[in-house]
């Protein structure tokens, strides 16, 4: 497999003595022949800091400031990134301060949050950032003390030389360090020597969050700022006419702005907007497909049967395998649309000032925000600044820039600073959704119960490729066909935490259970049999590391006491996504005749764990998320408008609905991979398989509680 963590271009170190005597260190990743050190003023650093990728400063007092470039939405990157830098620097964590960097595409590479990709992308460069700074500080101390650098040690921000008994903090050597050259390849620490990485460092924003400080986009205020709310058209419709009189009549409403297919109400306060938006009388007319969920069901059935499919992968002779099969297992699985529903509704601040634009708010893709604004205004991208606030959740919703677009249009129209605010109804009805998808699986078994053929056909709504053709069980079956059909819907769809795999994993892992049952094999043994085949004699390309997958399967079976208790009905699931491996087991016990979901055991291989608290959070959070949406949540359309408009009908999982979750992490020695997504995909399958084990009911559609098969089952959820 290709490693994505390698720093392929040579680092170029810049050190600047500042007017205050501080040390700025940045790392240029592009195109320099040899590392060299330049002494610059602060202004020069800022002006010349081209293509910097990581950035830290050390004050004469020994305080360390580490800038965290990637948007923080709960994945804990604002704590874990600086931990890596501080580790190699051997800083005193108590003296580290973390700041959210603004968008700077010249300093930072991949300044976005998505795909669980930040840590694998930045691991090596963050380490180098810390290690190079430590190298020059040590060299500076050696020079000042006139001792060999190799005799110097660093611990918690203190540089010491045992022989001479000398010691001092980082700040004392900042000025001297500015004249030191850095090595071409700085030596990184041995992982066994890590002191900060692997420890439960607390969230750097904790105090501010727990005392109500303004951290989030919605909290941002500026003198003279206007607020705006927008009524968007139903999907597939356009505005025919607008009667804004009643809305204008609401006390506090300053203006109504029509742009594109949207109507905005503007005020200097929020409450008048919530009232006025409801009073807008807008009539619409069709402008394309006006879709309802009942149409989608028809479309799915038709396209599964007769759709024009794109062949994603073909191994062996599938037709022959199925014609020779002793047994064929077929099943179809379907999921609904889902909204992202971050707790902080979408919002963004924009201030258009002539040919310049200032943007502030919660975005997963600050550069997309900038490009969007520049495009609308017809100005160069460098005229747009983007400040990233903390994000009150994202789940993929804030990869988009529709809310930025709105803020820019309205700020321009009003010639004033404007913050656009969505309410929950906007978020659920005017959003962008996890697309509905339907899968048909077919498996051919021979006499001995070996899977000799496997077919998967996915139909997605704007889902592009609705399969992951090189994932398991590809590589483990001689004859295999993976196809994808795409339907172009007028409903806006978007990446949603663990795109595609958030449902595909459930469908596949549930189907493999069906096949194991037909083959008369234990679900874990059946998966291991396939994985052993992929290991010893792989068929075609493998998108996953077989040993790591076997590792989590075996560990999850062991940790969950798989198959050991006759009274505990268990469901198994394993999935590889976003470079991490997660296996889960759900335990259901009968209590007073009621199946009761008691526990989910998860074993994760994400390589090295940076912060056990954060890692636990992501795994548990992913499981709770996967479980909640698999069991409870549905979004259905009626003539281009979602029927579920708020949390009273759009049901999210609550405190009393989560079982005990036991997490384990395998120390496999690999570099760290991301965890924002990988724990979610396996959960639905583990629960569905446990429900089958307990009740004999196979759930092939989500949400579970709305399925006929489930109507007479009361599933309790209780923690120990």
């Amino acid at each position: 497999m290709r490693s994505l963590t390698k720093t392929t271009r040579r680092d170029f170190l810049k050190i600047a003595g500042t007017s205050a005597g501080g040390l700025f260190i940045g790392f240029n990743m592009f195109g320099c022949d040899s590392p060299k050190v330049e002494v610059l003023s602060t202004e020069e650093v800022l002006a010349q800091a081209k293509n910097f990728n990581s950035y830290l400063s050390i004050s004469p007092t020994g305080d360390v400031v580490i800038y965290s470039p990637n948007p923080e939405l709960g994945q804990n990157i604002k704590t874990s990134f600086p931990m890596v830098v501080a580790e190699e620097l051997d800083a005193d964590w108590e003296k580290v301060r973390v700041l959210q960097a603004h968008l700077d595409t010249e300093k930072y590479d991949r300044q976005l949050t998505g795909g669980s990709g930040a840590m694998p992308h930045s691991w090596e460069r963050l380490r180098k950032a810390g290690a190079t700074a430590k190298f020059v500080l040590v060299a500076a101390a050696a020079k000042v003390w006139n001792v060999p650098a190799e005799e110097i040690t660093v611990d918690q921000g203190i540089i010491s030389h045992k022989g001479s008994g000398k010691s001092g903090h980082f700040g004392e050597f900042v000025a001297e360090a500015a004249s030191i050259s850095a090595p071409e390849d700085v030596k990184l620490k041995e992982k066994k020597d890590f002191k900060i990485i692997g420890t439960a460092v607390k969230n750097v924003d904790a105090k501010d969050m727990y005392t109500g400080k303004p951290l989030f986009g919605l909290d941002f205020q500026r003198e003279g700022m206007l607020h705006a709310m927008v009524q968007r058209a139903p999907f597939g419709m356009k505005i025919k006419s607008v009667d804004e009189n009643a809305a204008r009549g609401v006390s506090g409403v300053k203006d109504v702005v029509v742009f594109g297919n949207s109507v905005a109400v503007v005020s200097d306060k929020t409450w008048p907007l919530l009232k006025a938006k409801k009073l807008l009388k807008i009539s619409y007319e069709p402008d394309g497909k006006v879709e309802s969920s009942s149409d989608h069901d028809e479309i799915f059935r038709e396209l599964i049967a007769n759709g024009k499919a794109e062949e994603r992968r073909r191994d062996g002779n599938v037709d022959q395998a199925f014609s020779q099969a002793a047994q064929v297992v077929t099943a179809e699985y379907q999921c609904p649309f889902l909204a992202h529903s971050p707790m902080e509704p979408e919002n963004f601040f924009a201030h258009v000032k002539g040919d310049k634009c200032e943007l502030i708010g919660p975005t997963q893709t600050p550069d997309r925000a900038r490009q969007t604004a520049a495009g609308i205004l017809g100005i160069p991208a460098e005229n747009v600044s983007v400040e990233i606030t903390r994000l009150g959740g994202g789940f993929g919703r804030r990869l988009r820039a529709d809310f930025v677009e709105e803020a820019v249009h309205i700020s321009k129209a009003m010639n004033a600073p404007v913050k656009v605010i969505w309410d929950r109804e906007d978020e659920l009805t005017g959003g962008a959704y996890r697309p509905a998808v339907r899968y048909r699986f077919e498996a051919a078994l021979d006499q001995s119960g070996t899977m000799i053929g496997y077919k998967l056909r996915g139909v997605g709504m704007n889902a592009g490729n609705s399969t992951r053709e090189h994932n398991f069980p590809s590589g483990a079956v001689d004859n295999l066909l993976i196809e994808s059909v795409n339907y172009e819907s007028s409903i806006t769809t978007n990446a949603w935490r663990a795109p595609i795999t958030n449902f595909l994993a459930y469908a596949e892992q549930s189907f493999l259970d069906e096949v194991a049952l037909a083959a008369g094999k234990d679900p874990v043994d059946f998966r291991l049999e396939l994985l052993n085949r992929a290991k010893s004699n792989p068929v075609g390309e493998l998108g996953y590391d077989v040993d790591r997958m076997i590792g989590v399967v075996k560990a999850a079976a062991e940790k969950s006491n798989w198959g050991k208790s006759p009274t505990v009905k268990q469901g198994f699931s394993v999935y590889y996504s976003h470079r991490s491996y997660v296996a889960q087991v759900a335990d259901i016990e009968m209590e007073n005749g009621t199946p009761t979901l008691k526990k989910i055991t998860a074993v994760t291989d994400c390589g090295m764990v940076i912060n056990p608290t954060g890692a636990n959070h992501q795994v548990r959070g992913g499981i709770v998320d996967g479980m909640g949406h698999a069991m409870f949540t549905n979004l259905t359309f009626d003539n281009g408008v979602p029927k579920q408009k708020n949390f009273d009908s759009y049901r999210l999982i609550r405190m009393k609905e989560v079982p005990e979750i036991e997490t384990h992490f395998l120390d496999t020695g690999f570099d760290p991979t991301g965890l924002g997504e990988p724990a979610l995909p396996p959960t639905g399958g583990a629960i569905a398989n446990a429900i089958f084990a307990a009740t004999g009911r196979r759930l092939r559609s989500q949400p579970f509680i709305e399925q006929n098969e489930f109507s007479d089952i009361k599933l309790d959820i209780r923690r120990a």
Binding site: M209, Y210, P214, Q221, W271, R424, G628, N646
Partner: protein
């Protein structure tokens, strides 16, 4: 428009607003206390939880005209230095992921523990079931409420 005199976090505030303005928006837009969060607006998620005379209340559906002389406490006023037992427990347990719902969770927990200082885990679950957390920090919330009860 009417004039209202409010007592928030021990201080008096005078605001000119419509009678139907929810307390949430008076706090956020008029008084500048943005720690209390907006999320659903219909008393379903608890992000806007404040204390009114010590009771956990959803400020998004509490019209200003109903508040009167009541004592309103927001997350900013729960303690002077952020050291209320619930806040300390939240830090100790390191509860938050995105953090957006946590002010509401803390206010819910603080009012609950005030009325029930030694709750069972089931009572904690029942009380905290009113507040949504989209990141799924429920296990940590539960642990932190129990810790706050134990430490106090």
């Amino acid at each position: 428009m009417a004039t209202y005199n409010l007592k928030v976090n021990g201080k008096s505030h005078q605001v000119e607003v419509e009678d139907d303005t929810p307390l949430l928006w008076v706090l956020r837009d008029h008084i500048g206390l943005v720690g209390t969060k907006f999320s659903c607006g219909i008393a379903q998620c608890g992000a806007c939880t404040v204390h009114i005379n010590g009771n956990a209340t959803f400020s998004c559906v509490t019209p200003i005209s109903s508040v009167g002389n009541s004592e309103v406490i927001t997350i900013e006023g729960l303690s002077e230095n952020g050291d209320h037992p619930v806040q300390k427990a939240w830090e100790e347990v390191d509860v938050a992921q995105c953090g957006y719902c946590q002010a509401g969770q803390i206010m819910q927990a603080a009012a609950f523990l005030n009325n029930n200082p030694s709750p069972s885990m089931e009572e904690i679950d029942n009380a905290m079931n009113r507040n949504l957390c989209r990141c799924g920090t429920y296990h940590k919330i539960r642990e932190a409420v129990a810790l706050a009860a134990k430490n106090n």
